[in-house]
Amino acid sequence: MFDLRSLWDIVVLFAIALAVAPFFGDYLARVYTNRPAFGDVVLAPIERGIYRLLGTSPRKSMPAREYMVALLLVNAGVWVFMFWYFFDQSTLPLNPTGVPNMSWDLAFHSASSFVTNTDFTHFTNESQISVGAIMIAWQLALFISPATGLAVAAAMVRGFIRRDGTIGNFYVDVVRSLTRVLLPIAFVGALIMVMLGVPETFNWTVIAHPITGGTQILYLGPVASYQSISLLGTNGGGWYSANMVSPLANPSAVSNLFGIFIMLLIPISSPFAFGRMVRRKGEEWPYVGTILIILVVAIALFIFYQAATNPALANFTGLVQTNGYPVGSEVRFSLPEGSTFQVVSVYSNVGANNIMIGALSPVAQLVLLFGMFTQSTPGGEGTGFGMLLLFAVLAIFVGGLMVGRTPEYLGKKIETSQVRWAALALLSHPAAILLPFVVAVVAGQVPIDASTVGASSHNFTAVLYEFTSESANNGSALSTAVFNDQTPFFNIAGAFVMLVGRYAPIFAMLKVGEIFARQRTLPAGPGTLRTASGTFTIYLTLFLIIVTTLLFLPVIAMGPLAQIL
């Protein structure tokens, strides 16, 4: 077993995050409603300059379609730039280690992966991507993609407080996300990481002489500034292939805890920002509650099943599991610390690893999969909360009928059009996972061991995990040992899954926001379903769990469940 005292680290960390969240949420609300906020003196003139440069103004507000077009324009620009850089990185600046160009399909996958906030890498960082490609191209996406997510959530929430059918100005939202949220915090985060021992240097390599003899090349670079935005922006790619397992990226237990904190910061503050934006007391709590219930249960299950003895060990004489650490765990951290990082990373759709997921027990893998199935507890930057709002719209629709009124939320009626878009967004997820999965299976891309029943389940889980991670824009990978995902098939299929998994729900969120924004706000009466209540919180949690289970149980049964020994 593990030292129970290390659980306290986690409890204290969550307490701190929850204590900070209301204040940070309030700040976010100020940022996205153009109210006076900290930093106006310096930033407001800069922003005005940028708006003038872009030829836009905060006074302009867009309907959903226009907002989406602007969003796609900016994202496509970043995508094209990245694709070009990766495809041609050997000749482009900053390639000190002489990395060759990416193949077109790998560049296609990588650009799509980074622009969609997925940061799923089909390559080995050290040998396949140049420092320049990371610092100039990829790092641009590390900022733009979370800024896009935050803008979408802000636009959707505006639907509840507007009556003119518009949801804000995408350019303004992105600029303010960058100047007010991502850049300053990533900067401070990088400084702290440097203090904790993460490299930040323009020396690219250093030769080490390990005690085992011989020499080893250690790759260095501006790791802290990369890693900081990677975690804060729920991106998740790593400077190193080993990501947060690497002692250079994650030197100590403190840096590990700090990592958990900045991954959680924005996702856990989003409900509070929502509560402040709609200016209704207590409306953030159903979301905070749902997120915490599911996250805490997930962490507990994960730790419990990781600590449990692996029953397969009994088949080998002399092998016992004395310390509860299964293969693949980073032993520098205690089990709770390592597990919490992993669960929070997957549940907030960061996807950074500090454990080998392929070596986890099946239940622990199932726990991670579940987080990507819901993609909203708390989910990625902005889009995770948007997803949770869509779940809530459907839950309130069914629940509202049960109290005998046309369902309404925050004074806005939930009608056919919102139900249609919300359902589309939630249900596009299983489709984006399962359809390419079938293609992969039928096309013989999944290694199958037909000799014994259940033997294929691990391979099955690996491919399921791949597509789930891509559709959820998560980025964590189960294992590259099971099948080679660096093939044109998985590059291209994966890229499409990520693009659909990103932009289909985003469009639905914007549409739902716009439809709400067209309605006037109805006065609340005693007959209105009170959403700021414990009953609704529990209802929302159960609704989310049941809907997710209904959609994914069959594949879970064939994958992780069939693997449980």
């Binding site: 139900v419 299983p430 999965f437 039928v442 005693p526 209540s533 049941i546």
Partner: protein
């Protein structure tokens, strides 16, 4: 005032007939609905229907699908096909029953009118008998005493005493006359006295009864907004489950983790689809209209019924809705030094010949207080009626005794001196919205009788119920503020509008609607029509003018404005039934998964895997029976829930969050438990059945006669 007294005062006891449902027609309809055109209207059931046809082909000609041939088991395929048939049929049946109920409801009302002939007034002023079917709107007809009125219309000349009991259940005949607000007559009612000329306002096929039938039979029934939204949700859910299930076949069969037969995957899909709510959705909608009809209210659209559940505000007339409509005696106050008996006797005397409701109520109250009655037996007397100059009424007996009652000023003018105590008491009563009448016996003021606008018994409770449901009530009255405030307080309404003019209601409705509230009102006069039309729910009285009836979206045959409160409950019940059955349907699915998924693994001998064993909580060891019992449960839950869908889920007014909690436990958790228990029981039943040799033989015979049974 006691309940029975109230009944005497003219409260209506409405007669609710038991409609006759034709079961043969129900059965016929349920099979007629198997036509593709009919099925296509309900997407969820249409899927089941298509799958049923697919399985019929598959069962009969398995060779068309070579891939499945090696897993083909004729008995199993046939069983799945039959259960799918039952599922569709049960859905048809539920709708047919709901339609039949509505039709029966309308038929009982319509029977009265059929085959009626009318005396048409021709241009030259003469009359001629014609069949009422050929009349057009605007035609004029004459109805004489003893004749039924053939068709709805407005009286253009004359007045008549009309028996409307067959339509409204009200036993007392009513007076209808040309001019004013009481011109409207209803087809099917009987003229008792007087000859009237009536202008036809509705032709057959357009009157309210016909509209009701259109509505329940589906021609005129447009899906309501909530129904549409729910439909979209169910449809999206179905499509996604389809994706899940179809991909499952490929994933399972290509990876060899498990092997799934087509019948099983179809069964899985049908089980997971929200068939329960999908099947019952039409019946729920129709039954909402039926329940309104059973309350003798004809809804002109399903939307109106649903809107009733959403109301935020009811505008209630004071007179007739909140109060009985007449002022009634509630208290005697004797003058100082006067024996109470003397006051009672005087009050009884002066009111015994007063035919007004006020007078009658004084007699009743006095009698209850045991007023001495001997002087009434004297025989001859002279009535001193109310005149404009005298402003009081009374009686002059043979012995010279003279008793008067009137306003305090009138009695003083008459010469009786009111002691200051009485004057104070009178002023106090007036302040509370009551009317004090002074009573004088032989020019001596003997006391006061206090008249009061009496609030209907039970109205206070209903208004409180409305408040619990979150609906505000506003009382509208032409009375002065003082009186209005007193009544409003007593009835417990949230707000009131005093000194209201005819257009006040319209202004009020426009105001409230501008703030986004849904408003309902009742009305019967032509000047109510604009407001009725503007209101989200406008309940017009059948006794009202045609204009009012056209403007409103519901017509109350009983002319009882408090009906509005009942309709609110029906509307809420309608929405709750939909939500509850949706929740039930979804939580049911969880249990069905737990029956079918393990069955798939049992089939390949992988059931011993602990992860799968966890899923098999019901311990169903025979995979085919497990699938069949889940599918069978899915089918028979439909007829089991039909009574609930038709009657609506039980509904007691309470706050929204309490309702949610209660219904979540009842239908969410209940749905989960019911499905687990139900599937297990069905499994045991099927397992027991197949132990009989007879069943086995049957299977062999079936397999033999299927064309490719031997495969």
């Amino acid at each position: 005032m006691s309940e029975e007294e109230f009944a005497q005062l003219g409260a209506r006891v409405s007669v609710r007939r038991r409609p006759h449902t034709s079961w043969r027609r129900v059965l016929g309809d349920s099979f007629r609905m198997f036509s593709p055109a009919q099925q296509f209207r309900h997407p969820v059931m249409f899927c089941v229907y298509v799958l049923f046809l697919f399985l019929v082909v598959l069962t009969l000609v398995p060779s068309l699908f070579p891939d499945i041939a090696h897993s083909y088991n004729p008995g199993y395929y046939l069983a799945v096909t039959i259960i799918l048939f039952l599922t569709v049929w049960f859905a048809n049946l539920s709708q047919a029953i709901a339609e039949a109920q509505g039709r029966a409801q309308a038929d009982t009302l319509r029977e009265i009118r059929s085959g009626v002939r009318a005396r048409q007034v021709l241009p030259d002023g003469k009359t001629a008998w014609v069949a009422s079917d050929i009349l057009h709107i605007g035609d004029s007809i004459e109805v004489q005493p003893g004749e039924p009125i053939p068709i709805d219309g407005d009286i253009t000349s004359g007045a008549a005493l009309i028996d409307e009991s067959m339509m409204t259940g009200e036993s007392e005949a009513v007076i209808r006359e040309s001019g004013g607000d009481k011109t409207s007559v209803l087809g099917g009612t009987l003229v008792l006295q007087g000859t009237i000329r009536v202008r036809v306002t509705a032709v057959r096929g357009e009157s309210f009864l016909d509209r009701l039938i259109y509505l329940v039979e589906g021609q005129g029934r447009e899906p309501t907004p909530n129904e549409l939204a729910l439909g979209v949700l169910l449809y999206a859910f179905t499509i996604t489950l389809f994706t899940v299930v179809v991909t499952f076949i490929f994933l399972a069969n290509f990876t060899n983790i498990v092997y799934v037969s087509v019948a099983t995957i179809v069964a899985l899909f049908v089980c997971l689809m929200p068939t329960t709510i999908g099947a019952l959705l039409p019946a729920i909608g129709i039954s909402g209209i039926n329940r309104v009809a059973r309350a003798n209210v004809i809804a002109k659209s399903g939307k109106a019924v649903e809107a009733a559940g959403d109301l935020d505000l009811l505008i209630l007339d004071k007179t007739g809705t909140i109060t009985v409509g007449n002022r009634l005696a509630v208290q005697f106050i004797p003058a100082p030094g006067v024996a109470p008996e003397k006051l009672l006797e005087a009050a009884l005397l002066c009111s015994s010949v007063d035919e007004t409701p006020e007078g009658k109520s004084i007699v009743r109250l006095a009698a209850r207080r045991n007023a001495p009655t001997r002087r009434l037996e004297l025989g001859s007397y002279k009535v001193l009626p109310f005149t404009a100059e005298r402003r009081m009424s009374g009686i002059l007996l043979q012995d010279g005794t003279e008793a008067y009652k009137g306003s305090m000023q009138a009695i003083e003018a008459y010469g009786a001196v009111l002691p200051p105590e009485l004057r104070r008491a009178g002023a106090q009563a007036a302040q509370q919205g009551m009317t004090p009448l002074a009573i004088a016996l032989n020019k001596q003021a003997v006391g006061l009788v206090i008249l009061k606008d009496v609030v209907k018994p039970g109205i206070k409770d209903r208004i409180r119920e409305l408040r619990t449901m979150g609906i505000r009530t506003v009382m509208c009255t032409g009375d002065n503020r003082l009186t209005a405030a007193a009544i409003a307080k007593e009835a417990g309404v949230d707000d009131f509008v005093a000194e209201a003019k005819p257009e006040t209601k319209l202004t009020l409705i426009q105001q409230e609607k501008a703030e986004g509230r849904l408003v309902a009102m009742t009305g019967d006069g032509t000047n109510d029509a604009p407001a009725l039309a503007r209101a989200d729910v406008g309940l017009s009285m059948n006794s009202g003018t045609s204009a009012a009836k056209e403007a409103g979206n519901m017509v109350d045959l009983d002319n009882d404005p408090t009906k509005l409160i009942e309709i609110v409950s029906i509307g809420k019940q309608l929405l709750i039934t939909r939500g509850a059955l949706t929740t039930f349907s979804i939580t049911n699915d969880v249990a069905k998964y737990f029956a079918i998924i393990p069955a798939l693994f049992i089939a390949v001998g992988a059931a011993s895997l602990p992860g799968i064993a966890i899923l098999n909580v019901m311990g169903l060891s025979n995979p085919q029976l497990a699938v069949l019992s889940a599918l069978l449960f899915n089918a028979i839950i439909i007829p089991i829930l039909v009574p609930l869908a038709l009657a609506g889920v039980p509904f007691r007014p309470s706050s929204a969050i309490d309702l949610l909690r209660k219904n979540l436990v009842l239908y969410g958790f209940g749905g989960l438990v019911t499905a687990f228990v139900g599937i297990k029981l069905l499994y045991l039943l099927l397992a027991w059945l197949i132990t009989f040799p007879f069943v086995h033989t049957l299977g062999v015979i079936v397999a033999h006669y299927l064309p490719f049974g031997g495969l």
